[in-house]
């Protein structure tokens, strides 16, 4: 077991919907006491635990915000979903710590150092400042993280030496207990660990001694496992209302990263998800449905599709929050390196699937289609558009006369002069007639072709166009072009 503790000291500030300007001093207040201040405030001496009146006396320009525990909990949960990218063993330690069991993930990510660097930078990308540490026990990882010295302890033997210089504050004791330890002459954790454990248990209770033993790995320390939600629904408040749709892409990136983590723990992908743009003042939310050609958990691919959708979107009202919803994850087969590239899942196929998705996102679902041949004697019905990747009906190649490469969507009426059809001049009928008739079975149905009685000819126009024309009871019509 190897635990990575991700402590988020600035979480109360970072979870605020309207994040204050970093250059102006701001602080979070809870029950008249400062919880945390931003960098500008800390530099002016605003520390946690200070009374509000004292803080204002020190820094009259200090902007304060009430703490929002619900927002903090939801931010922590979103971060836990995101961390699913790295491990499935996650434990929440409210209010502001996340524990990841990374022992099983080291090989995949190329070792502890590489994984550590990756998590720290990705966490910053999610918009959270973190203090991180790795230790063989969860409690030790928490303590090391809260001391913010970036310790990487991969071996239990070096743990006591690493814990020794930590200040007593990491234990989060009551002031009375801290004073009592100080009266023993203990100033650091190392001093406490040197004291006889039985005596400590007598003076501070069995719980205290147990925690020390758990931190050193002498006693088991079971942690509740974070249960990933069945349905992904995360909301992100935007710092300021956004009027311009493409600007939403940056904020959506965070939600999509969380979705990918949620999918990674399930070894699955999604075929579709929905992004809702919430507006102010009671305007109904704008839903954006994103559909993919195949189940995916590739964040970049999702962002490309979303980018195309946002590009063509006109917002009637400014967006104040985003909400990403996804359910019914589809199992995604693990990718094994094939010795011979086969038709299924080869790179060209995937690249084409991405193209189809992108075109559909911009041009609409019917902007791109495939074509199939149908065994049907009526010319309009023998060629049918169908959705890409759908299976074509297996039809025997019907014997028929020559057919044109271009067909007009609707037969175009031709004028007739002296018994000859006209199209830029009199047409020369070269071949024909080929009689095509009957179709009474769908006559009268809406949208159906119905009954036909036509004599088709191949004709040459004065401009040397090769045409497919027919004569019916209504007269002459142009139906296709031999291109």
């Amino acid at each position: 077991m190897l635990w990575l503790a991700l402590s988020l000291p600035q979480l109360p500030l970072e979870a605020l919907a309207s994040r204050p300007d970093a250059t102006l001093p701001a602080a979070i207040v809870w029950h008249d006491r400062i919880v945390v201040g931003n960098e500008a405030a800390t530099a002016a001496g605003i520390v946690a635990g200070l009374k509000l009146a004292a803080a204002w006396a020190r820094l009259p320009a200090l902007a304060i915000h009430e703490r929002n525990p619900a927002a903090e909990a939801s931010a922590l949960q979103r971060l836990a979903c995101w961390a699913g990218e790295y491990t499935s063993e996650i434990s929440l330690r409210p209010p502001q710590t996340l524990l990841l069991e990374i022992g099983a993930s080291l090989r995949l990510f190329g070792g502890a150092e590489a994984l550590y660097a990756r998590i720290v930078s990705a966490c910053a990308g999610q918009g959270f400042q973190s203090q991180t540490a790795i230790a063989p026990t969860p409690l030790a990882a928490e303590w090391l993280a809260s001391a913010a010295n970036g310790a990487l302890c991969l071996d239990g033997k070096t743990l006591p030496a690493l814990l020794a210089p930590l200040p007593l504050q990491v234990l989060a004791l009551s002031p009375a207990e801290e004073a009592r330890l100080a009266s023993f002459g203990a100033r650091t954790l190392g001093d406490v660990l040197r004291l006889p454990r039985a005596g400590l248990a007598k003076r501070f209770g069995a719980g205290f001694a147990t925690r020390l033993a758990q931190a050193l790995g002498e006693l088991p320390d079971p942690r509740p496992r974070f249960v990933f939600p069945q349905r992904f629904a995360e909301r992100l408040e935007l710092p300021a209302p956004v009027e311009h749709a493409p600007a939403l892409l940056f904020a959506a990136r965070r939600l999509i990263a969380a979705l990918c983590g949620w999918l990674a723990t399930r070894q699955s992908g999604v075929l579709h998800c929905r992004l809702e743009l919430e507006h102010q003042r009671g305007h109904p939310a704008t839903p954006l449905d994103l559909a993919f050609a195949a189940a995916t958990r590739d964040g970049e691919r999702m962002l490309r599709i979303l980018g195309e959708r946002l590009h063509s979107l006109q917002l009637n009202s400014a967006t104040s929050a985003l909400r990403l919803l996804a359910d019914s994850p589809q199992p995604l087969p693990g990718r094994d390196a094939a010795l011979f590239a086969d038709g299924h899942g080869n790179p060209a196929q995937e690249s084409l699937a991405a193209l189809v998705e992108r075109l559909q996102a911009r041009l609409g679902a019917d902007g791109i289609h495939a074509l199939c041949r149908v065994d049907e004697h009526r010319p309009e019905l023998a060629s049918r558009p169908m959705a890409p990747w759908s299976a074509a009906p297996r039809t025997p190649a019907a014997a028929h006369g020559p057919r044109p490469l271009w067909l007009l969507p609707q037969p175009q009426a031709l004028r007739e002069r002296d018994g000859q059809p006209q199209h830029g001049g009199p047409l020369r009928l070269l071949v024909g007639p080929e009689r095509i008739e009957s179709g009474w079975w769908d006559a009268g149905e809406p949208g159906a072709t119905g009954d036909l009685r036509r004599d088709y000819f191949i004709a040459l126009s004065p401009h040397a166009e090769w045409l497919w024309v027919f004569r019916s009871a209504e007269g002459w019509f142009l139906h296709g072009l031999f291109a």
């Binding site: 289609h369 074509l371 028929h400 271009w406 166009e465 031999f482 291109a483």
Partner: protein
Amino acid sequence: MPALAELLQRTDIWRGDALATAPLPGIPTGFAELDAELPGGGWPRSGLMEILVDRTGIGELSLLLPMLARLSGEELAWLIFVAPPHLLYAPALADGGVALSRLLIVAAAGRNAAWACERALETDGVGALVAWLPETRPTELRRLQMAAEASRTLTCVFRPGVAANTASPAPLRLALESNERHLRVRLLKRRGNPLTRPLDLAIPRPPLADPSRHALACPLPAATAARSPGQPA
């Protein structure tokens, strides 16, 4: 001068009195007299190709059909058609040897059509891109030429005949006219010495023999009365 001889080995430099050599062998067009006049001995596998034609229905697709059949049937590459002016008719394509399972048609208008072409050229596995861009602008064509040069996709753009009067970045330009049973191809521009004489290609035309077929799905009912026997005569 050895340096000059070396220089002339490059595929992007050619003498004015000879045909350039193409970096990749071309795709046989199916017409020997046309192959003989194209650099690389066939349609170019990369780079933009323009076909200028004023009317549809003179045989402009039949000219490409052998290449489309070869790419989709033998090389298992995808064919993408962007903004065709009419409906492509599946039975005729299948009769021409095109594998319909490897065909995608994009319905896009105006600037979206050029955008779709660029995206298709970025994609692997696309053998041929055939686009109808009647109102394309020079900057879009230039971008397409860059994308086509970087890809391994045969890129063919249909434009109206008046475009022959304006310059184009495409290294190969053809103008088509119908000449009764033949298709007259004029090579307006190619890498190499200009060709002034037009080529008359015997493209496949509908057979003149009378098919005398009767596509009747089932015999017609003898009379309408047969469907309502209860009616008094």
